[in-house]
Symmetry: C2
Subunit: 292 residues, 2 copies
């Protein structure tokens, strides 16, 4: 069994170094407002999954960094817009002031727009090193899963669900769209770019769906149990706002069981890949033990 935590740390380090050089261009207000959130820490789970997947197929990721960064940019833009007063109205994210608290609402909207657009520029820049067919396919997948075929659809459902009680199926659908979509994108786009076959890409999609679900359930558990210092944001805020969570639906014990089942489904999908993927198996297992 590979130690996925060490692998994640290694990838995170590479990603942090690369992200620190972004975005390109002058260090003006737009640059600073984008860089503030992009370089504000975080687990870097999505780009790490992207690089780990590429490595499964023998690609060391050196020339894939723009795409890895693009995925993190999409994730970051979604957090900036999510935190806005009109949306979740959050003042803190990862223990720091949110973008609009530092740069104002107008600039935070634009920083998000800039990150989302720049993400596609970065993806397209891979044409120098990878077959254009694969690059376009990966971009198409990003346009779908980050947008109306995934993340933005989930965000819309989440906003519409505010103050309403959700069923387990409704909650899962929102999380599949909001959280699992970008995780699936990370895994699948790497496989597309390095030329993996369609069967493996499907298995990575299934892995990402289950991993995303496990991740979100663990998030709810942590929101319920952690301290501000551990998590870097206010605790129990979801429940206080009357949001349906896996805790409110299943209770703490039921949520832990559901997280384990989702992690096991992910592990099975990873084990079925045509390549050895112990690191993905271990990662799904270790997700259950994360503290933030």
């Amino acid at each position: 069994m590979k130690d996925s935590q060490k692998t994640l740390r290694d990838k995170k380090e590479k990603i942090e170094t690369y992200l620190a050089s972004l975005p390109r261009g002058e260090q003006d207000l737009l640059h600073d407002s984008m860089a503030y959130s992009l370089n504000g820490g975080g687990k870097r789970l999505r780009p790490a999954l992207f690089l780990i997947t590429a490595e499964l197929y023998g690609d060391d990721g050196a020339k894939l960094m723009p795409f890895a960064a693009a995925i993190e940019m999409i994730h970051t833009y979604s957090l900036i817009h999510d935190d806005l007063p009109a949306m979740d109205n959050d003042a803190y994210r990862r223990g720091r002031l949110t973008n609009h608290k530092v740069y104002g609402e107008a600039q935070a909207i634009l920083a998000g727009d800039g990150l989302l657009t720049e993400a596609f520029w970065l993806m397209a820049s891979l044409k120098a090193d990878y077959p254009a067919e694969r690059v376009v396919s990966a971009i198409a997948l990003a346009g779908d899963l980050a947008g109306i075929g995934g993340m933005v659809r989930g965000q819309t459902a989440d906003v519409a669900a505010e103050g309403k009680a959700l069923s387990l199926d409704e909650l899962k659908a929102i999380h599949n769209d909001k959280t699992a979509s970008l995780i699936r994108l990370s895994l699948m786009s790497a496989a597309i770019l390095v030329g993996a076959d369609a069967a493996d890409i499907e298995k990575l999609s299934a892995y990402g769906l289950s991993l995303g679900l496990a991740f979100q359930i663990v998030d709810d558990i942590l929101d319920h149990e952690s301290t501000f210092e551990e998590l870097g944001k206010p605790i129990g805020s979801d429940e206080e706002q009357g949001k349906t969570t896996y805790i409110t639906l299943l209770g703490a014990e039921g949520a832990r069981k559901a997280a384990r089942e989702a992690a096991e489904a992910a592990m099975a999908a990873a084990a079925a890949l045509s390549v050895e993927a112990d690191v993905l198996v271990d990662l799904a297992e270790s997700l259950l033990h994360r503290r933030k």
Copy 2:
């Protein structure tokens, strides 16, 4: 001399029909909020320029419609975000309520995010009919000109300039980024997709820069002179807000002269193309006479 107005009307009709089928997927809240602004009229100048340019090189545009629609989606998202309370706080656009007045701020932000992301999905969908290398190049250009290399940069400068007096150079720089970038994208991406040579692509870039400038100056003139009924939005609002415009810098007569000079520069660039482009020449000329 070709009648560019008839050509524009023909293209607009095709575009309207195509846009009415978008976005793909279920007719849910996200779909409706995106479609509301996408199908809210407008000149469709950008996708029309895109189709006109493709036609100069012998492409009838039938399989280019997704890309034409993508450009209009980017334009539309920028208007939705621009109209938000945190930005220009506009209640009307093209004589209709703005997106956030109908769907609320949160959904308007998401409708914009959805349109921007879907635009890249649509662009990438061209891989079925055009060489992948060209499609990726066109996407890279869109990622640059719609983002930190163009439109979003201009939007940032525009917000930052609020309440400040601008020099003519500063005002031009903002308009080049805010307005001319998408016009250049429309012309250049069509040329890239149909395989035009690099020299023509550069000339189209120059044409777009001058046309965009002329367009913006005429906008300022119309904002100064028109009625609500003609324009579909409040009149003189820029000047009332203390914004620097070509009118405040050059006066009405000076602005008309500057518009003419810009249009003539555009006409010269179009005339220098390797293909007959009378329609672009006529379009630059007729821009000076538009009433809305």
